[in-house]
């Protein structure tokens, strides 16, 4: 009887595949990334290595000794204290306790402070509280502590913000007006992110993490890159991390350019160059998980995309690994077998600098 190995579908369901099937899924997943991103496929050695990682017998696996990489966290302390279906486990704790737990119990190499809404815009009215929390945390911690939030440009459109919703305008075929709305929103986004971070840097933040950049499309990315550029000029020594929302920059506007490069449709290896150009220290590439495909297909695809980003990037790449990204299944609490295999593959095959 042919040996079968336990893997998962992208939605987390357990499946059993033979080695031959795993190899064919890896080849297909890698080919999909290579086709979309116009990047090289995984080599035969890399395919074998990935299959070996996926077929390892242990429930969890780890990188080889000497290949350890920095591990940092986004979403602030919401992972611990969040109790509203927002990826948290509902442990009542202050943000100081949450940050210190990440530092002293979880072994995080860096940490970030974040607000419960985790977007820059809602931080504006409570920025003094955030500054105070940052100061208190900095006084109690050793590892670099950043301030983290999402650009989340959707908050600048109706019904949450002042500008007409481009989605509504598009439906009425008012394309130019929709584009104008996005451009205005991007200007405000840049202004707000710079303002918030000026305050947080003055309160001792070691850096900033722009998390889920481009979630609202190319204008969201434009606004964020501009903010990075301005902050880099004002704070030459600050650590700036730009993490993405998805593998490809969605073209909501379609014509916005940064450094004479059209932002819409950029894949991770192309995004890395612009993030570095804007002045960031670290790039956080993303590859989305397809829930209808196997973990072998998804992981091969993710490793192919991220390896290309690592090779192209002039700055370190800390890949996003979690629910529905980085070859990890789309589950609120991702299973350890999938998370550790995906992480090992990202370090040992894609060559990421951190997670």
């Amino acid at each position: 009887m042919t040996t079968e190995y336990v893997l998962r579908m992208g939605d987390g369901k357990r499946i059993y595949l033979t080695k031959e099937k795993i190899l064919s899924e890896i080849e297909d997943g890698s080919a999909n990334a290579a086709d979309l991103g116009e990047i090289p496929d995984l080599s035969a050695d890399e395919i074998d290595k990935l299959a070996e990682i996926l077929m390892m017998p242990g429930k969890s696996v780890s990188v080889e000794q000497g290949m350890e990489v920095p591990v940092t966290h986004d979403i602030g302390t919401i992972r611990l204290d969040g109790d509203q279906g927002n990826s948290g486990v509902g442990i009542p704790s202050s943000r100081l306790v949450g940050c210190m737990t990440h530092e002293r119990a979880f072994g995080a190499d860096t940490m970030e402070l974040g607000h419960i809404d985790y977007s820059f815009k809602p931080v504006k009215p409570v920025v003094s509280n955030e500054c105070q929390a940052m100061e208190v945390c900095q006084q109690n911690m050793i590892i670099p502590l950043f301030y983290g939030a999402m650009p989340n440009m959707g908050l600048y459109y109706t019904p949450d913000g002042p500008f007409e919703n481009p989605g509504d305008l598009m439906k009425l075929f008012k394309i130019d007006k929709a584009r104008g709305s996005m451009e205005h929103a991007a200007e405000h986004l840049t202004r707000d992110m710079v303002w918030v971070m000026q305050k947080l840097f003055a309160s001792g933040a070691d850096g900033v993490n722009f998390d889920t950049t481009a979630a609202a499309g190319d204008a969201d990315m434009y606004g964020t890159l501009r903010a990075v550029e301005i902050l880099r000029t004002q704070f030459p020594d600050m650590y700036i991390e730009v993490g993405m929302a998805g593998e490809m920059v969605l073209g909501m506007h379609g014509e916005l350019e940064y450094d004479e490069v059209r932002l819409a449709g950029l894949w991770p290896h192309e995004q890395a160059l612009l993030v570095a150009k804007a002045g960031a220290n670290v790039f956080g590439p993303v590859c989305n998980t397809n829930t209808s495909k196997t973990s072998a297909w998804n992981l091969a695809r993710a490793v192919t995309f991220i390896r290309a980003a690592v090779e192209a990037s002039p700055i370190p790449c800390h890949v996003n690994m979690g629910m529905g990204v980085g070859g990890i299944p789309m589950l609120e609490t991702p299973p350890i077998d999938a998370v550790t295999r995906a992480s090992k593959a990202m370090v040992e095959i894609a060559g990421v600098d951190g997670i």
């Binding site: 579908m9 992208g10 939605d11 987390g12 369901k13 979309l36 509203q84 279906g85 927002n86 019904p159 949450d160 919703n165 989605g167 509504d168 598009m170 439906k171 075929f173 394309i175 929709a178 584009r179 499309g217 190319d218 490809m248 920059v249 969605l250 073209g251 909501m252 506007h253 379609g254 014509e255 819409a264 449709g265 950029l266 894949w267 397809n290 829930t291 209808s292 529905g324 789309m330 609120e332």
Partner: protein, 214 residues
């Protein structure tokens, strides 16, 4: 006499160019040689399908999809007078589409509506933040064959199950197919709540709607 394939390709390529004037010009040219049904199916719809593929590959973007849809609608309008009786109102099926209550994400669902419409479905897009009962009422009103339910957050995903439960309560579940989609939705979730299908993206939504309704 111009080659049929060349004429249809010209129409399809005009749609892919997203330019209304080009589409109208190509349709005017094709209608002198070809029946309107063929121009719609193998020219306009084929072009729009390709627009969907290029959108997912990051080669065309949202404004282009909307412009192409607008151009295609204009092309169909130009052919309507020549359509045989009964063909004018012929649709692949009636679909009610919306994002569940509490969820204001709209764009992905709108793209699905646009591509379904372009593929020949009659689509009633209820927008975002749609109360559960509104899906049912609209489906009754327009005699829908399918309800499409989008949710973009883990916290609003439950709304998809509530629509299905209400369909059952109203004794309508057997008559109406249900498609679910959105970032946190999965095939396993669709099976768990008893939906008829899950679609990963807009092109898949069109393919699965055809499988279910034709």
């Amino acid at each position: 006499m111009a080659d049929t394939e060349a004429l249809l390709n010209e129409v399809a390529n005009a749609v892919i160019s997203c330019k209304k004037d080009k589409v109208l010009e190509a349709v005017e040219k094709a209608k002198t040689e070809l029946p309107p049904e063929e121009i719609i199916e193998k020219g306009l719809s084929a072009g729009m399908n390709q627009v969907g593929v290029l959108f997912e590959r990051g080669k065309l973007f949202l404004p282009h999809v909307m412009m192409a849809a607008d151009a295609m609608t204009a092309g169909v309008k130009l052919l309507e007078a020549d359509l045989p009786a009964g063909e004018k109102s012929k649709k692949l099926g009636v679909v009610v589409n919306g994002t569940v209550e509490g969820d204001v994400h709209d764009i992905g669902k709108s793209i699905v509506s646009t591509l379904l419409q372009s593929a020949g479905f009659e689509v009633y897009d209820l927008g975002r933040d749609v109360p559960i009962r509104n899906f049912i009422e609209k489906a009754k009103e327009v005699n829908a064959g399918m309800i499409g339910i989008s949710a973009l957050m883990t916290t609003t995903l439950q709304g998809q199950r509530e629509v299905i439960d209400l369909l059952k309560e109203e004794g309508m579940r057997g008559k109406i197919k249900v498609m679910v989609g959105g970032a946190p939705a999965t095939q396993a979730w669709a099976e768990k709540i008893g939906a008829d299908c899950y679609a990963e993206n807009a092109s898949e939504a069109v393919a699965k709607a055809k499988e279910l309704l034709l």
